[in-house]
């Protein structure tokens, strides 16, 4: 017994290593994994705060935040498309915070913050466009699509893939873009016509671009920066942004409501808005447009200055009610149509 106590005592001493003086921060990360890892490492280097990072898609993260709402385990939610962040703000899963770095950001990033009542902020943006497989198009002797109108050409019959808005935020951005560009009636008319050329509405938003890369389909409706990543991996992929104008997503960041390490969460938040932190995306071969104006951007990244952008109303189209309405309309009028 005495021996047991002594052993336990020694164990207690051995185990009672002091926790890092700077503490920890738990980050739910919804960008690509290399980016997450380098962000964790660099932040740790810069501040001495230990980062516990788990990488999950934005849909999975908001599902987890909802499930954990009574007893949050995460502190910051870094990255992922803006709509779920806006939804989290709407459902009171995240906390408002005004970062001193806000002045250095592009207006669209700040607007994301004001739209959500200060509960989220833009960290990068990515434009919607087309990805196409140059080899397949050459084989078909078809010209690469440059405008939304091109997608209706008969030569692209069964060659286009886009995601299903029921499951994918990317597809929803596409619908919202078309609605803002053409007006609701015309947009749905357009999508009905395009339906004849679509071979599948995939469940995941990134799947169409991967299908283009592997030659499973000729054209995809995707975020253009994903195409750059595939092209750099050696696939015959090129991208274009539609001549009529296009929409974009705003990758966002939020602080979890009731975060256990709120102070460190704010430190991470401020740091993630600096140019030093934002250039890590490009280093991890992700080519979205960073939200801090002074972040350096590599030449291969798509630039907003080269595109025609619609004045995308993130606040209106990020609301759950509007989203539900448009998606069920799409379901009834487009998704359920027979295959030609």
């Amino acid at each position: 017994m005495k021996f047991g106590l002594v052993t336990l005592g020694t164990l207690a001493v051995a185990y009672a290593t002091p926790a890092s003086a700077q503490g920890v921060v738990n980050v739910y990360c919804s960008v690509q994994v290399e980016w997450c890892t380098s962000a964790a490492n660099e932040f740790q280097k810069a501040t001495g705060i230990k980062v516990s990072m788990s990488q999950k898609g934005s849909g999975e993260t908001i599902a987890q935040l909802k499930a954990e709402a009574q007893n949050p385990k995460g502190d910051v939610w870094f990255g992922g498309t803006g709509d779920p962040h806006l939804q989290a703000a709407e459902e009171n899963l995240t906390d408002a915070y005004k970062s001193p770095k806000m002045a250095e950001l592009h207006p669209w990033a700040v607007k994301q913050n004001t739209d959500s009542g200060g509960k989220t902020v833009g960290i990068y943006a990515g434009a919607l466009g087309f990805g196409f497989n140059t080899e397949l198009l050459a084989k078909k002797n078809a010209k690469a699509p440059a405008c939304w109108a091109d997608l209706l050409k008969p030569e692209f019959k069964g060659e286009i893939q886009m995601a299903n808005p029921n499951s994918s935020g990317t597809a929803y951005v596409a619908i919202a873009t078309l609605v803002q560009l053409m007006g609701e009636a015309n947009a749905f008319d357009y999508m009905k016509k395009m339906h004849a050329n679509v071979n599948a509405y995939t469940r995941s938003g990134t799947a169409p671009m991967k299908a283009v890369a592997r030659g499973e389909t000729a054209i995809s409706i995707s975020f253009v920066h994903d195409g750059v990543t595939e092209a750099l991996a050696g696939f015959p992929v090129k991208t274009a942004t539609p001549c009529e104008g296009t929409g974009y997503e705003i990758g966002s960041m939020s602080i979890v409501k009731g975060a256990r390490n709120a102070a460190n969460a704010r430190k991470f938040y401020d740091w993630a808005l600096t140019p030093d932190a934002q250039k890590l995306g490009a280093q991890a071969k992700q080519f979205q447009v960073p939200s801090n104006k002074s972040t350096t951007v590599p030449p291969e990244a798509p630039k907003f200055s080269d595109m025609k952008l619609v004045d995308y109303d993130q606040a209106k189209y990020g609301k759950s009610a509007e989203r539900k309405r448009l998606i069920s309309k799409w379901d009834a009028e487009v998704g359920g149509l027979p295959k030609p």
Binding site: A12, A16, S52, S167, S168, E216
Partner: protein, 731 residues
């Protein structure tokens, strides 16, 4: 003897209430830092101190019943009386324990009506810790001892304990989380209870439309799921049977190779089969390119949709059917077949009228497993489904997709459960009340009859091309890890392996610098803990279900299947819902991952055990009982050795599934406990197939090694049957 057991359990429970921290500790039990604060610190105090010093009066009833049990075990009484009092005291204790756990949480009362009924509560409590766990287990043990003393379960405390353990653990880790999430089907977005919503959600046209039969359009997901599952169940059973017959009843020379080959698909991380199928049959795949090049046939996308998913599922689940069937086919006693032949039945009618009907429980079980695996499968439909939606993908996207509609997910989950339930009852009807026992204590039972020629040829025609096909796919997968960019740049390289598994020699010793090592070791560790637990719990449950008669047996049997029928994602979210808040607060720990593995994979252990056990004649148990063997001895010395194939099956499956599960653990992994599959999935999402495949190959090698180890450790079942002399040139 009988009165010493309750005394021991009571003392254990009371000791735990005094000398272990009652609540969960932030820093974990192993740090030992709680010892000094056992009385004075609110975080670290034991149960008694919590009541006396820290004002947690609601723990008092539980501890009082433990004291009552102490009195009951010490006071002399008849068996019957002691049993009755033990049952009363411990049942009250458990009720009090559960009630306070559910009623009082992190912020005092956990429901509003409690606060209005009793007024604000000053105290609060976190999740249960070591002290509370041991005390509640002691109460459960006392309950089962009490029941046994009263003569329930044949008066056998071991049987009573086994039943209580299995029931309690299934209620806690399967039924409770699933209920938590299914309740959502009746609630609207704000958590208001509205039963009519369920009907509205279930009757949706999108689920049930039959438009594909006439006039084009797509059929509802319910029909898609059902058709796919029926085809998959039938297909896997037929293929599994063909392999099982070849492996046991023919002189086929490469049986061992065949066995390894059939096991390969289960030890493959889920999406590898899908990706390999795309590379072979996809539009830019080998077959299409070849057709295009040689005959100018336009490449098509036929692999995406029903056909592709079915093909991948057949690949993935045939081995499971094989594992279920092999024990059964081996177990069919040659005696009956010889008897039939003595009665002048030819080989074919012997096979058709004797052997095949005796395999019926195995066939029905294999079908059930194939059916349920198919409806719960997520990986294959997501990779190959294209437009073809099934319930599991629909549920996944209702939870994580753009809709974020838990209510819809739960309603679809109920539908999925209904399908599983239907299959389950159908299986019971098919197996019926007949007796399939062919392993009895009687001596030599003759030689297994070789298959009739027609059946043998059919089995070989089905199985051998399938095996060859498997070789092709795996060849592809293996090569994929050794080239630069799979499908594009076929320059050979070892880079992917180096990136994942490099080890550097530094001044301080070896540095495991590869990117995969962390998740690799976590996976190995957790799977190694989960596999034996899965097998043990599964086989004990099977033994209870087949050998013991008690009220609620059918309900228990169904409950064991529950977690299997629910798609992994739903289980994952359900676990977060149920175990993120007190009374049981274990999210973010390794424990929750292990529990998820165990309760998700246990059903296969149960099915294999039930199938195998219904073949073992009850007279063997009775013989053991006549020789004064008690239930534990019978189990250990008689039943278990005859169950060796089932044990191997359950252990292998438990380990392999723990290594290859993705969807269920996606919500449970943390940076600290990252798993191999979640790491690989991220690579795939990233388009980094080379590394994903290299890692998968390493996992396959690991699992093969573990399977061989398990085979060696458990050994083969010796039935005392003669082995047929080699059949010469017949193959």
């Amino acid at each position: 003897m009988a009165s010493r057991a309750p005394l021991a359990w009571t003392v254990a429970g009371l000791l735990a209430a005094v000398a272990l921290p009652w609540y969960a500790l932030q820093e974990g039990l192993d740090s030992g830092a709680w010892l000094p604060g056992l009385w004075a610190s609110e975080d670290h105090a034991g149960g008694l101190a919590q009541i006396l010093v820290h004002g947690k009066w609601w723990l008092a009833p539980t501890l009082a019943t433990l004291v009552a049990c102490l009195v009951v075990s010490l006071v002399p009484a008849t068996r019957e009386r002691r049993g009755t009092w033990l049952v009363i005291a411990s049942a009250l204790g458990i009720a009090a324990f559960v009630a306070q756990g559910l009623a009082i949480g992190l912020r005092g009362w956990s429901a509003e009506w409690l606060a209005t009924a009793f007024g604000e509560l000053a105290g609060r409590q976190v999740g249960i810790g070591a002290g509370a766990a041991v005390a509640s287990i002691a109460l459960l043990a006392l309950l089962s001892i009490g029941l046994a003393l009263r003569g329930a379960f044949g008066g056998d405390a071991f049987v009573a304990g086994a039943i209580t353990t299995v029931t309690a653990s299934i209620v806690l880790f399967t039924a409770w989380p699933i209920l938590r999430i299914l309740v959502q089907a009746f609630q609207n977005g704000d958590g208001v209870f509205m039963p009519a919503l369920l009907i509205e959600r279930l009757a949706a046209e999108k689920i049930w439309t039959l438009r594909c039969l006439w006039g084009g359009g797509r059929c509802g997901v319910a029909w898609n799921t059902l058709v796919l599952a029926l085809c998959c169940g039938a297909g896997t059973t037929a293929l599994g049977l063909a392999f099982a017959l070849i492996a046991t009843r023919t002189g086929f020379r490469f049986k061992r190779t065949l066995r390894v080959l059939t096991v390969l698909p289960i030890i493959t991380p889920p999406f590898v089969i899908g990706l390999a199928l795309i590379l072979v049959f996809g539009r830019s795949g080998l077959v299409n390119q070849l057709l295009d090049w040689s005959f100018g046939i336009q490449a098509t996308r036929w692999i995406y949709g029903f056909q592709g998913v079915l093909l991948a599922q057949l690949f993935a689940f045939t081995p499971v059917a094989f594992l279920v069937l092999i024990g059964v086919v081996e177990g069919v006693s040659p005696t009956l077949e010889e008897a039939a032949q003595t009665l002048r039945a030819d080989r074919w009618s012997t096979f058709a009228t004797v052997s095949l009907p005796l395999m019926r429980p195995g066939l029905a079980n294999a079908f059930l497993v194939g059916f349920i695996e198919s409806i719960a499968d997520f990986g294959n439909p997501i990779v190959l489904g294209g437009d073809y939606g099934v319930l599991s993908t629909e549920i996944y996207f209702a939870v994580v997709g753009a809709q974020l509609d838990y209510g819809r997910a739960a309603a679809l989950g109920i539908l999925l459960l209904a399908f599983a339930l239907g299959a389950f009852f159908l299986q019971r009807r098919v197996v019926g009340q007949g007796s399939y026992a062919t392993i009895s204590g009687k001596g030599d039972s003759g030689l297994p009859t070789p298959l009739p020629d027609a059946a043998r040829r059919a089995a070989q025609w089905v199985a051998l091309p399938w095996a060859a096909f498997t070789f092709v796919l795996y060849g592809f997968a293996f090569v994929g890890g050794l080239v630069k960019v799979w499908g594009r740049d076929y320059t050979p390289t070892l880079d992917h392996y180096a990136k994942a598994f490099s080890i550097e020699r530094t001044a301080d010793g070896l540095l495991w610098s590869g990117a995969a090592w962390n998740s690799f070791w976590t996976t190995v560790k957790l799977a190694a803990i989960a596999a034996p637990l899965t097998a043990a719990l599964g086989l004990i449950a099977a033994w209870i279900l087949v050998r013991q008669r008690f009220a609620g047996r059918a309900a228990l049997e169904f409950a064991t299947m529950l977690s299997f029928a629910v798609p992994g994602t739903v289980i994952g979210v359900a676990y977060v819902f149920a175990f993120n808040v007190p009374p049981i607060e274990i999210t973010g720990t390794a424990m929750i991952i292990v529990l998820c593995f165990v309760f998700r994979n246990m059903p296969v252990g149960v099915r294999a055990g039930v199938a195998a056990m219904s073949q073992i004649d009850r007279s063997l148990d009775e013989a053991s009982a006549t020789l004064r063997g008690r239930a534990p001895q019978t189990l250990v010395y008689v039943v278990l050795p005859l169950l060796r194939p089932a044990i191997v099956g359950a252990l292998v499956y438990g380990f392999v599934r723990a290594v290859t599960t993705v969807s269920a653990v996606v919500f449970l992994v943390t940076a600290e406990y990252e798993l191999a599959t979640t790491y690989i999935i991220l690579r795939v999402i990233n388009g980094d197939y080379g590394l994903a495949i290299a890692y998968s190959c390493a996992l396959i090698v690991l699992m093969l090694a573990v399977i061989l180890l398990i085979q060696l450790a458990v050994g083969e079942r010796r039935l005392g049957r003669r082995i047929a002399p080699p059949l010469g040139g017949r193959a």
